[in-house]
């Protein structure tokens, strides 16, 4: 990989402008991303499969809003409680696991790597 690349454009301007292009991907995308970022630190330590299934189905919807049926994804995720609990452990141990944390997440339906 090339060494030491830099952003040579107006990074601050692009960041400030982010909500507009994100909305062009899907209406409500920006707000949902912010909401999920807010919910994530609450959901992970609760270790509640239902709450986690809701969160994870919203995450799938965030990535693929045009084709995701959230209720079906939520049902599929909730039907794998052991995998969901494993996935909740992983982010808490990310400092120790590093990228291997993704392996646990990938066992949850709809979260293949």
């Amino acid at each position: 990989m090339a060494s030491r690349c830099r952003l040579v454009g107006d990074a601050a301007g692009l960041l400030a402008d982010a909500p507009r292009p994100l909305e062009s991907f899907s209406p409500g995308h920006w707000a949902l991303m912010q909401e999920l970022e807010r919910r994530a630190p609450e959901v992970v330590p609760r270790r509640d499969v239902d709450a986690a299934a809701s969160f994870l189905s919203d995450v799938v919807y965030l990535k693929r809003p045009h084709t995701t049926h959230r209720a079906s994804v939520r049902e599929a995720v909730a039907s794998h409680p052991a995998e969901v609990l494993g996935a909740l452990d992983a982010p808490e141990r990310v400092g120790e696991l590093g990228y291997a944390a993704m392996d646990a997440l990938a066992k949850v339906p709809w979260f293949c790597a």
Partner: protein, 258 residues
């Protein structure tokens, strides 16, 4: 995605658009210097494969390492660098309007110009058309079973119209046999499930394949190709795509059940 939401300071989301900006792919250059090279693909391959670009763990590690370096330089979170790249990519190449079935908005109605192109070089023109459809299909992600059914119905609908158009210029036995094929396609289109429709696909192929026992006596695809029509064989990569990404009976995403 989950790690990006839980630890935005350290993780971003990998996406072909962000990789295209980092690599300086055609149409996405100008934000990063020097551009980043990935051993797994070229900058041109990123924009050619788009949503079907394979994201291995090695790719993600290299990608995220680059984002962390850029985040340190800019004094922002890794997730913010991810947003900067994505925003830039959308400015350079806005999203195409989205509607389902994807097929209907991707594969154009064929006019005389397209027919001429097909007559001149059927294989390349048809392959490009199918490739663009599959790229768009990859962009939208996994489809539900009903959405897959709608896609297959659209594919069959086009081929049905192609056969009917071809038959309009024919007489006698050939016209009668084309009618049989059109009827088989109509029956397939009315299927209520994608597995039945895929079964009909195999049956229909047999009707026009001289090596099959169900051959009806004409080499329909060859004659259609010579006259600039698309044939179902052109869309075999669609069948392969579905086979690779979805369970053959439930049509659940394959990787979602691993």
């Amino acid at each position: 995605m989950v790690l990006r939401l839980v630890c935005p300071a350290s993780f971003g989301i990998v996406d072909w658009r962000n990789l295209a900006v980092l690599c300086g792919s055609p149409g996405f250059d100008g934000l990063v210097a020097p551009t980043v090279s990935f051993s797994q693909f070229s900058r041109e391959e990123v924009v050619a494969a788009r949503g079907q670009l394979p994201f291995t763990m090695d790719v993600y590690r290299e990608y995220n390492r680059t984002l962390r370096s850029l985040a340190r330089d800019c004094g922002v979170r890794v997730a913010d660098v991810d947003l900067v790249l994505w925003t830039y990519s959308i400015d350079r190449q806005p999203f195409a309007p989205f509607s389902l079935p994807v097929f209907d908005s991707t594969v154009p109605a064929l006019g005389e110009r397209e027919r001429d192109a097909l007559r001149r070089d059927h294989q390349s023109v048809a392959a490009q058309l199918v490739r663009e459809y599959l790229v768009r299909l990859g962009d939208v992600g996994f489809l539900s079973k009903n959405q897959i059914l709608a896609e297959l119905r659209s594919v069959f609908g086009l081929i049905r119209d192609e056969c009917a158009g071809f038959g309009n210029h024919k007489r006698g036995k050939v016209k009668d046999r084309v009618r049989l094929v059109v009827a088989a396609l109509d029956e397939a289109i009315s299927s209520e499930s994608p597995e039945r429709l895929l079964g009909q696909w195999n049956r229909w192929q047999g009707m026009v394949d001289p090596t099959a026992s169900s051959w009806i006596g004409i080499s329909l695809p060859t004659d259609m190709i010579l006259e600039g029509y698309l044939v179902l064989e052109d869309f075999i990569p669609v069948k392969e795509y579905l086979g690779a990404h979805y369970d053959a009976s439930s049509f659940d995403p394959r990787c979602g059940r691993e």
